[in-house]
Structures are given as structure tokens and as C-alpha cells.
């Protein structure tokens, strides 16, 4: 209560002060505002004054300018203006005077101004008069009188002073105004902050108070609870509170136990009902109260009555309790059942109450006669709600049935309870929810017969845990089954406790055949031993498993066959101790592959040794890792001298570089090796001498990386041979050249003297024919003839030799065109003989056009020349033989040739006819032959005497890939 008051006060105080502060702030602000407004007003005012000053100055100026105007012009209108300005000035003067009433300085100045004004008026009057009377000249003189100027100057000075004063006043006032505004702002802010602070503080303090109050209340409630629990915990004493007149206000289990009444039944009723009829008659209950009230407490022994009417001896202590004001609030009654037998029951009850599990005592009819607070909690019922209820309402099945049986516990149940797991049933809460329980039953002899005590434990958590565990096991089992390797789980005793389907397959057993078996039945050696060892894995094994190769062992199938395996072990903690999971992999394939590999290596090694060439195997660091006998011999080293050496030492250049290159073989090298010539390099022997070699490389993959096998062939001999060949060819070429030149020169130089001879003999013939004797004519004729023939021979020889020397490159040539050219050249002969020359389409060939033309010319010319009677016919055709050559045929219907001469006719200067019969030196066909052979073909003839001839030759067709 006082707390509340105090806090109230605090609140009041706090809020009160906050409000005060706010009001103060408000007032200050208001004042500030007012002040600032007034200062603003002052500023305005000063501005106004300045404005008026300006007006004043303006008026004055107008006055003086008007006067000047009048003086100069004499125009009365100026005077008018001046009067008007004067009036304005006077008005202004008054205004300004009024406005600066508060400023004595200004007032003084205005007074001075007044004086000046008077002077001015006097002066102006005089001047005006003078003007009117004396005219301009005089007036000017007068006006230039210093007086006028002085007045003006004074006025200016005064005006300046006044303005300056007002301006400074203005700035001061402005500043004041600013300051006021600032001040107001500051006050406003500070005040607000203060207000907030106070409010905040008040609020916080209130909050704190209420919190502490709440705490206090909580503490109070807790202590009340504690108290209650205490009371409730007492089972052998009735502890209850009654009002001043004895009305029962509280109860406890003890009271319930002793009297048999529930609180519901006795609440509000007078406690006298526990007294015997006699006591009640005698007014004992009330007397006890009186005594207790008087003395504070009272002890009494007497007889009390239980619910069932049974009387019992009881000892009761009454303690009076008062409230804060001393008024009697009521009594606390503590009474004890003094009757025997109740002691142990009470004790029993006490134990039951104290039990951590829910305890329920059930009679033979299945009714709950006793329960503890845990039971209340578990099932969500109030004690009196359950007492007398059938136990089936909380344990629908399993409990009641067991009561009926004569033997309260069956053998299994007895066993179950022995091993501490009890009977699992389902219980039903008041709210209808079910939960799994485990009950332990034990009989209890009592006055009312055999009762059954049931300790009830809520096992929902345990069930959940078990379910989770089961799930995990399932999952594990699933993984195990799905594993591609055979998986076997072995316990410390070496027995197989778990395996998967793969294990079944691998070992050829059924699952149940292996479960429980010793693992040595399937892995005779190596597994079980490892289990026994404290360290499940030795260092090597641990390492092996680290590098993923596991432990290699031999496994035994059901049918007795063995196969190599690799096992990977891992421990697995379980309820039954440390188990070992083994992943078992059948490595027979791998082993076979390894073996095969080893075999291949052996074989390879064998081949290497036996090879006729030097063989060297080099790793990618350029070191020789393997070599054969030949290699040693070739290079003059012992085998061990070369092993490990850099291959550079025997092949200084070209080999190592090719190793470094990603592509082991460049295109050229690849090509070279394709055509079987390899890479040509220089090798060096141990003695330093060098020799040319041919290298054939091929890569070799193995565990250690890429090795390169090199077959090294000493090609000294070959190279020498090649060089020889080249030399020979060179010589031949040169000699050929010479020959050609020789022929050329010879023919050419022979021409000259020959021409002389021929020409002069002809001249002789011309000049002296018929002038000498007939012998002379004949001699001359022969000489001429001889010379002519010689000339022709030499010409032909020259032509022949030129086929070789003057020949040009073979290019794509149209044989059709060459043919036409030849025909043109032969036109004369064709026309003369009336020959019919036909041809089929002729192809493109690789040829020297000039020579081809010559060829056609010779052949067709021959065909016409050696004609048979009738119309000479010549036909030229060409056929392809695949895609490399064209076979040309020049067929005629001429004389034909005797077979025995087929060869001879192609010889030089070979003729089959007398000179007189047919002209020609006999070199035509030799030239044809030479031309054809130069074109890489061959020429031949088919003929029959009297049936014409067919000359055939072949030329290379134009290559398709160009």
C-alpha cells in the first residue's frame, strides 16, 4: 500500500514539475517572442525613419534646384515647385521629429535642422526678391554668396549625420532583434529538453516502482505457493485454516487423509463437524477457538470423527492469526491422527507423495484409492477427481486386466520389471490426450485388502528417442544396402552383425548365413587381427586408407574360391560397443590389369633388347631411363653410364627440344616418320666423335608419366651414299649441259663454212652451167647436192639437240591447239597431197607446247609423206587410261612399216627408203622419240606393210589435285 502512495507521490511530483517547467518555458518563449517582435518593430521603425529622411532630403533638393531654376529662368513655375517642396520638407521635418522622439541625439539634430531651414528661407526670400527686382546677373552674384553654399553644406552634413545615426541604430537594433530571437529559441529548446528529461525521469521511476512492486508481489505469491506446497507435503498432519468462527478456509492432504474428507466437501463448513456429537453438544469446538484466540494458540487432545464415521484419537493445535491491525483473522489448525496403524499408512502415503513418478494405488475393484501429486500432474486431474475412479479412465487398457489375474504378474511381466523396463501402456489425460507410459506394479497389503501400487512413468520422450534411433538405424541400413561395395559390420568379437546385399553377392552367401558368423570365414587373414589390436589401424594401414588404396587381403567365397580384395575399415560406436564397418572391394580385375601391365612391360623390355637399332627411352625430364645393348654399342657407353644421363649428352640437339614441345611431333616430323625417314640429327659418341642418325620417336604412357621411346639408326652409310648419288647426278647434269651446248655450238658453227660451200657451188652451177663440160656440170651438181644434204643434216641435228636443251617446262597445254598449229605448218603439204586430216577432241596435257606442236607436225607430216595411192587419210585421237596418262594415236592409211623395222625407225638418221624416193634425213622420228621421252612417255608403232601405220605415244594428263 505505502509503495503505491509513494509512487503516486513521485508521479505527482514529477509530472507537476514537468508541467511547471513547460509553463515557464512557455512564458519565456512568449516573452522572447514579444521582445523579438518589439525589436523587430524597432528595426522597422528605424527603417521608416530612414525612409522619411530620404523624403526630406529629396524635398530639400527640389527646393534648391527649383530656386536655381527660377533664378536662371525667372519662371514663376519654379517658385511654385519650390514652395511645394518647402511644404513637403516641413511636413517631413515634423514626421521625422515625431518618429525620433525617443532619440535625443536625433532631436538635437532636427533642431539644428530647423535653424538651417529658417536661414534658408530667409536667403531664398531675399534671392527671389532680388531676382524679381534686379535680374539674373545680380542674383547670380548673390547666389554665389558663400552663405547659400554654407547652408547647403551644413544641411548635407546634418543629413549625413542623421542618416548615419539612424543606420547605426538600425544595425544595433537588428542585432538586438537577432539576439532576442536566438535567446527565445535557446530557451525554447532548453525548456523542452528539460521538460522531456523530467517526464522521462518520472516515467522511469514509476516503471521501476511498479517493477519492484511486481517483484514483491511475485515474491509474495511464491512464498504463498511454497507455503502451500509445504502444507500439501504434509501428509500425516492435518493442517488447515479456519475463520474466527471455525469455518474451514483451507485444507491439506493430511487433513484429507486423516478425516477422509476432501476440501470441496468441507470448505466453508464449520470445523466442529470433525468433533464428536458430544463435543459439539458441549461446545468444545468453540471453546477451543476462544482459548486459542485468547492465548494465541491452544493444544488439545480429543476424539475426532472421520468421514466414514470412524472415531479416532487426535491431537490438535490451534494457532490464532491476526492481521496488521491486530484483528483476529482466523486460526491455523494442526492435528494429528494418534491411532496406530495410521502411522505406517501415513508414512507410506508420505513416501508416495514424495515419489518422482506418478503413483496410483488401486484396489481389487480397479478403483483408485490413492494417488500422489505427480499423478495429478501427469494426468491433469485433481486428486479428488481421481479418487474412487476406475483406473481404466486413466489407463484404458492393460492395467485393470492384470488385477483380475490371480497371479498379479505374468512371467514376462515379472521379467520386464526385473530388467527395469516395466509394462508399456497408453495413458489418457483429463484433456483426452494420450501418452505412452511404463508402469511398475507391486502389491500392497492393507486393511482393505490387496491393493496394487503402480508407478507410472511417462515415456513419451523415451519413445521419441527410441523412434529417432530406429530411424537412424533404418537410414544407416539403407545406406549400407545401397553401397556398391560389399559392406560388412563386425563386432569386437569378430562376428558379422550386419551386411548388405553386395556382400551377399560377393561372397556367395545368403544374409542369414553370414550374420553371426566369424568374419574369418570370409576373410581368413588380416581382418580379425586388426580388430583385436587396440589401434584399429596401424600406421601403414592408416596411410593406405589415406591414399585410398585400403588394405589388400584375400577373401574366401562360399564355394571355396578366393579372390583378392581391398578393405577400408572404419569404426562405428554403438550401444553394443565399437563395431567395425568394412567396405570390401573385389580387386581381381585390377590385379589382373596390374599383372597384365607387368607382363607387357616385360615383353617390351625384351623387344627393346632385341631391337637391331639403338633404342633409348627418355622421360619428360630428358633423362635416359632405359636403353638396349645396341644403344650402348652405338654410342660407345656402358649401359650404366647412360642410365640417368641427359639424352642431350648423346644427341646434343633436336631430341630434348622435341620432348618439351607439347606436340611431340611437329607436322614435318610426323610426316617424316610416316614416310619412314624419321628425324635426322647428329649424335655424339663417348669419344666425342659425331655421326648422323635418324630418330623415330613414339610416346609411351606409363605410371610415371609420358616416356618417349626413340629408335636411333646410324645413317652414316646412307648419307654417304646419298652424297655420292648427288655428286653423280651433278656430274651427269653438267655433262649433259655441256653436251647440249656442244651440239648446239657444233651445229651452229658448222653452218657457216657449209653455207659457203653450198652457196658457192650453187653459184658455180648457176654461172657456169653449160659453160664448162658435162663432167664439170656433174661434179658441181654432186658437190652442190652434198653440201645441201650436209646442211639439212646439220639442221636436223640441231633441232634434235634442241629438244633437250631448248625445252621449256611442262605446263598445262592444249594438245588440241598444238595439233592445230602443226596442221597450219603442214598446210602446204596437206593441200598439195589432198590429204584428209581428222581428229577427235584432244585433251589438256602437261607438255611443252612448241615441242608438242613439233611432235604432231612430224608424225602427221610423215603420215602424209609416206602415203599410199589414193587419198591420204590421217586420224588423230586420244584416250585416257585412268587419270594419269593420255594415249595419243596418229593413224594413217599410208605405206605401212615392216615389223622388223619398228625399233630402227626411231633411231637417228635411220631411213627405210632411198633418198631419191622420199626426202628427209631420217631424224624426224628420232626427234619425236626424244620429245615423247622428255615428256615422260614412250612412243611405239603398230603397222602392217601396205596397211597404214598407227603411231602411239602417251603424255601425262593434267594432275587433278593442282
Amino acid at each position: 500500500m505505502s509503495i503505491k502512495l509513494q509512487s503516486n507521490r513521485t508521479i505527482l511530483l514529477a509530472f507537476g514539475s514537468a508541467i511547471l517547467v513547460l509553463i515557464a518555458v512557455g512564458l519565456f518563449s512568449y516573452r522572447g517572442v514579444v521582445e523579438s517582435r518589439s525589436s523587430a518593430g524597432l528595426v522597422e521603425h528605424t527603417r521608416d525613419v530612414l525612409r522619411e529622411f530620404r523624403q526630406l532630403s529629396l524635398a530639400v533638393e527640389t527646393m534648391s534646384s527649383s530656386l536655381r531654376g527660377y533664378i536662371i529662368s525667372g519662371d514663376e513655375t519654379y517658385l511654385e515647385a519650390m514652395r511645394t517642396a518647402e511644404a513637403a520638407m516641413n511636413r517631413e521635418r515634423t514626421v521625422v521629429r515625431d518618429m525620433t522622439k525617443d532619440n535625443p541625439e536625433q532631436q538635437r539634430r532636427i533642431a539644428a535642422l530647423d535653424v538651417l531651414v529658417v536661414e534658408w528661407e530667409q536667403l531664398s526670400d531675399r534671392i527671389v526678391a532680388m531676382r524679381r527686382d534686379s535680374g539674373l546677373e545680380a542674383t547670380i552674384v548673390a547666389f554665389q554668396d558663400a552663405r547659400g553654399e554654407l547652408i547647403n553644406k551644413s544641411f548635407q552634413a546634418l543629413r549625413a549625420e542623421m542618416i548615419a545615426a539612424e543606420i547605426s541604430l538600425l544595425s544595433v537594433r537588428s542585432l538586438e532583434k537577432e539576439q532576442d530571437v536566438e535567446q527565445t529559441k535557446l530557451i525554447l529548446i532548453a525548456g523542452t529538453l528539460l521538460g522531456l528529461l523530467i517526464t522521462g525521469g518520472a516515467g522511469w521511476s514509476v516503471q521501476r516502482d511498479s517493477a519492484s512492486r511486481a517483484r514483491t508481489e511475485l515474491a509474495l505469491r511464491e512464498s504463498e505457493d511454497k507455503f502451500r506446497r509445504l502444507i500439501d507435503g504434509v501428509r500425516d498432519h492435518a493442517i488447515y485454516m479456519i475463520g474466527p468462527l471455525g469455518e474451514i478456509r483451507s485444507w491439506n492432504p493430511g487433513a484429507e487423509t486423516i478425516t477422509g474428507w476432501t476440501f470441496a466437501e468441507v470448505s466453508g463448513q464449520n470445523y466442529s463437524r470433525f468433533f464428536t456429537a458430544d463435543d459439539i453438544e458441549n461446545g468444545r469446538p468453540a471453546e477451543l477457538l476462544r482459548r486459542a484466540a485468547a492465548n494465541g494458540h491452544y493444544e488439545d487432545r480429543g476424539t475426532r470423527v472421520r468421514k466414514n464415521g470412524e472415531q479416532f484419537a487426535a491431537q490438535a493445535t490451534l494457532t490464532a492469526s491476526h492481521d496488521a491491525e491486530g484483528k483476529l483473522r482466523g486460526f491455523t489448525v494442526i492435528s494429528r491422527d494418534l491411532s496406530e496403524g495410521k502411522e505406517s499408512e501415513a508414512r507410506y502415503r508420505g513416501l508416495m507423495e514424495a515419489a518422482p513418478d506418478a503413483m496410483v494405488v488401486v484396489n481389487q475393484s480397479g478403483e483408485i484409492v490413492l494417488l500422489n501429486v505427480q499423478a495429478e500432474k501427469q494426468f491433469g486431474y485433481h486428486r479428488d477427481a481421481l479418487l474412487g475412479q476406475k483406473v481404466t479412465s486413466i489407463i484404458p487398457q492393460g492395467f485393470a486386466e492384470r488385477l483380475i489375474a490371480d497371479d498379479l504378474r505374468s512371467a514376462e511381466d515379472a521379467l520386464a520389471q526385473q530388467i527395469g523396463t516395466g509394462i508399456e501402456l497408453t495413458a489418457l489425460r483429463k484433456d483426452g490426450t494420450e501418452f505412452p507410459i511404463e508402469i511398475m506394479l507391486s502389491p500392497l497389503a492393507s486393511a482393505e485388502g490387496i491393493l496394487v501400487t503402480a508407478a507410472i512413468r511417462d515415456i513419451s520422450v523415451r519413445n521419441a528417442a527410441e523412434k529417432h534411433l530406429a530411424q537412424m538405424e533404418e537410414r544407416y541400413r539403407g545406406l549400407l544396402e545401397a553401397a556398391p561395395d560389399a559392406m560388412v559390420v563386425v563386432n569386437q568379437g569378430g562376428e558379422i552383425v550386419l551386411l548388405n546385399v553386395q556382400a551377399e553377392n560377393q561372397f556367395g552367401y545368403r544374409r542369414d548365413e553370414l550374420l553371426g558368423q566369424m568374419v574369418t570365414n570370409i576373410i581368413p587373414v588380416g581382418f580379425a587381427e586388426r580388430l583385436v589390436a587396440d589401434d584399429l589401424r596401424s600406421e601403414e594401414d592408416a596411410l593406405a586408407q589415406q591414399i585410398g588404396t585400403g588394405i589388400e587381403l584375400i577373401a574366401l567365397r562360399k564355394d571355396g574360391s578366393e579372390f583378392p580384395i581391398e578393405i577400408m575399415l572404419s569404426p562405428l560406436d554403438s550401444a553394443e560397443g565399437t563395431l567395425v564397418t568394412a567396405a570390401i572391394r573385389n580387386i581381381s580385375v585390377r590385379k589382373a590389369a596390374d599383372q597384365h601391365m607387368a607382363q607387357m612391360e616385360e615383353r617390351y623390355r625384351g623387344l627393346l633388347e632385341a631391337a637391331p637399332d639403338a633404342m633409348v627411352v627418355v622421360n619428360d625430364a630428358g633423362e635416359i631411363v632405359l636403353l638396349n645393348l645396341q644403344a650402348g654399342k652405338q654410342f660407345g657407353y656402358r649401359r650404366d653410364e647412360l642410365l640417368g644421363q641427359k639424352v642431350k649428352n648423346i644427341i646434343p640437339e633436336g631430341f630434348e627440344e622435341r620432348l618439351i614441345a607439347d606436340d611431340l611431333r611437329s607436322e614435318e616430323d610426323a610426316l617424316a616418320q610416316q614416310i619412314g625417314t624419321g628425324i635426322e640429327l647428329i649424335a655424339r659418341r663417348k669419344d666425342g666423335s659425331e655421326f648422323p642418325i635418324e630418330l623415330m620417336l613414339s610416346p609411351l604412357e606409363n605410371v610415371e608419366g609420358t616416356l618417349v621411346t626413340a629408335a636411333i639408326r646410324n645413317i652414316t652409310a646412307r648419307k654417304q651414299a646419298a652424297e655420292q648419288l648427288l655428286k653423280k647426278v651433278d656430274e651427269l647434269y653438267r655433262s649433259n649441259e655441256e653436251l647440249g651446248q656442244f651440239a648446239n655450238i657444233a651445229s651452229h658453227d658448222l653452218q657457216e663454212p657449209l653455207r659457203m660451200v653450198a652457196s658457192y657451188t650453187q653459184l658455180l652451177s648457176r654461172r657456169y652451167k653449160g659453160k664448162l663440160d658435162s663432167d664439170a656440170d656433174e661434179f658441181i651438181a654432186f658437190a652442190v647436192d652434198g653440201a645441201s644434204r650436209m646442211q639439212r643434216l646439220i639442221q636436223d641435228l640441231l633441232t634434235y639437240s634442241r629438244v633437250g636443251t631448248k625445252g621449256t617446262e611442262m605446263v598445262e597445254t592444249s594438245s588440241e591447239e598444238a595439233f592445230q598449229q602443226a596442221i597450219m605448218q603442214l598446210q602446204g603439204a596437206i593441200t598439195e597431197s589432198g590429204a584428209l586430216v581428222t581428229h577427235e577432241p584432244l585433251p589438256m596435257v602437261m607438255a611443252d607446247e612448241t615441242q608438242l606442236t613439233q611432235l604432231f607436225q612430224n608424225l602427221v607430216g610423215n603420215a602424209i609423206k609416206y602415203q599410199a595411192p589414193g587419198v591420204p587419210k590421217v586420224h588423230v585421237s586420244a584416250t585416257s587410261n585412268g587419270d594419269k596418262k593420255w594415249k595419243f594415236v596418229v593413224k594413217d592409211n599410208g605405206l605401212g612399216i615392216d615389223a622388223q623395222y619398228f625399233e630402227r625407225i626411231f633411231g637417228m638418221f635411220q631411213r627405210l627408203h632411198k633418198r631419191e624416193e622420199y626426202a628427209g634425213t631420217g631424224i624426224g622420228l628420232a626427234i619425236c622419240k626424244k620429245i615423247v621421252e622428255r615428256h615422260g612417255g614412250s612412243i611405239s608403232v603398230e603397222s602392217q606393210l601396205g596397211h597404214g601405220s598407227a603411231f602411239g605415244f602417251d603424255l601425262a594428263s593434267v594432275s587433278r589435285d593442282t
Binding site: R755, M756, Y760, Q762
Partner: protein, 153 residues
């Protein structure tokens, strides 16, 4: 067709072979024109003749030059080059008359601006015919610059 008067024409034959010289002369004799024949047996003589130096101070300016290529001392090719390098001499038609039918010689000659290139035929009749053609063509058919232009001043 020709405005040629019946004045004689001068032909310079540069030829080292006496036989050939005689043959050529004979051949020209068969043509009908009034031709005065001059012979130089080597390049040097030819140049002396053409430049009218030394012994040849009074030599006439030829209307046609027949030039063999293979000459002793100064070679015919050089003579050709010199002739065609000389502003005056180059106006004289220079016909190469040689035994060579080498393509190189032909090209070379035309490059040096020989007026034409002829190979001496092997046979006499052909030779005669050739000479006839030459004289007919170069001395009768073609227009030649007037001699009066080249009078020494």
C-alpha cells in the same frame, strides 16, 4: 611509186666473211637498182666509215646498213648500239643480217632498235631472194630521208 631519182644508193655492208661479202654483192647485182656497195670487215672500220674519219673522210653516207652481229674487234651488237646512239646515224635504216637465229640476239637487236632482223638463209636461192627483198623494200619501197639534209657544212 618511188620518187627516187636514178641516183645511186649507198649500201654499207658490215661483214667479216669474204665469202658472204661476195655472195651478198652477187645477190645485189641481180637487183636492178643502182647501188654502190661499201664493205667494212669489222666494227671499227664500220664506225670509221660512218663517222667519215681517217681513210673514210670522203665516204658517203649510206642509205642502208647491213650489219652482221658476229664481228671481230668491235662486235656487231656494239656497232648497232653506237649507230642508234648517234643522233644522225640512227636515222639510217640498219638491218641485221646474220647467221644467228638465237632468240636472245633477236630480242637484243630490236631492243637496240635495229630496223629489222634477218637470218641468212642456208640455201643460195633463198639468200638471193632475201637480198632482193631487202633492196626492193628498203631502197625502193620505203621513204628515206633526203640526203641533202645530211650534207656536211
Amino acid at each position: 611509186m618511188s620518187t627516187r631519182k636514178a641516183t645511186s644508193m649507198d649500201v654499207l655492208l658490215v661483214e667479216d666473211s669474204a665469202g658472204d661479202v661476195r655472195l651478198t654483192q652477187e645477190a645485189f647485182r641481180n637487183s636492178n637498182l643502182n647501188i654502190r656497195f661499201h664493205v667494212a670487215v669489222d666494227g671499227t672500220e664500220a664506225m670509221a666509215f660512218l663517222s667519215r674519219t681517217g681513210a673514210y673522210a670522203d665516204a658517203p653516207r649510206p642509205d642502208l646498213i647491213l650489219l652482221d652481229l658476229n664481228l671481230p674487234k668491235m662486235d656487231g651488237r656494239e656497232v648497232l648500239a653506237r649507230i642508234k646512239a648517234n643522233d644522225s646515224l640512227k636515222l639510217i635504216p640498219t638491218v641485221i643480217l646474220t647467221t644467228s637465229d638465237a632468240e636472245d640476239d633477236i630480242i637484243f637487236s630490236y631492243q637496240l632498235q635495229a630496223n629489222c632482223y634477218l637470218t641468212k638463209p642456208v640455201h643460195l636461192d633463198a639468200f638471193d631472194g632475201l637480198v632482193k627483198s631487202i633492196s626492193e623494200f628498203w631502197l625502193n619501197t620505203v621513204k628515206l630521208p633526203q640526203q641533202s639534209h645530211f650534207r656536211k657544212s
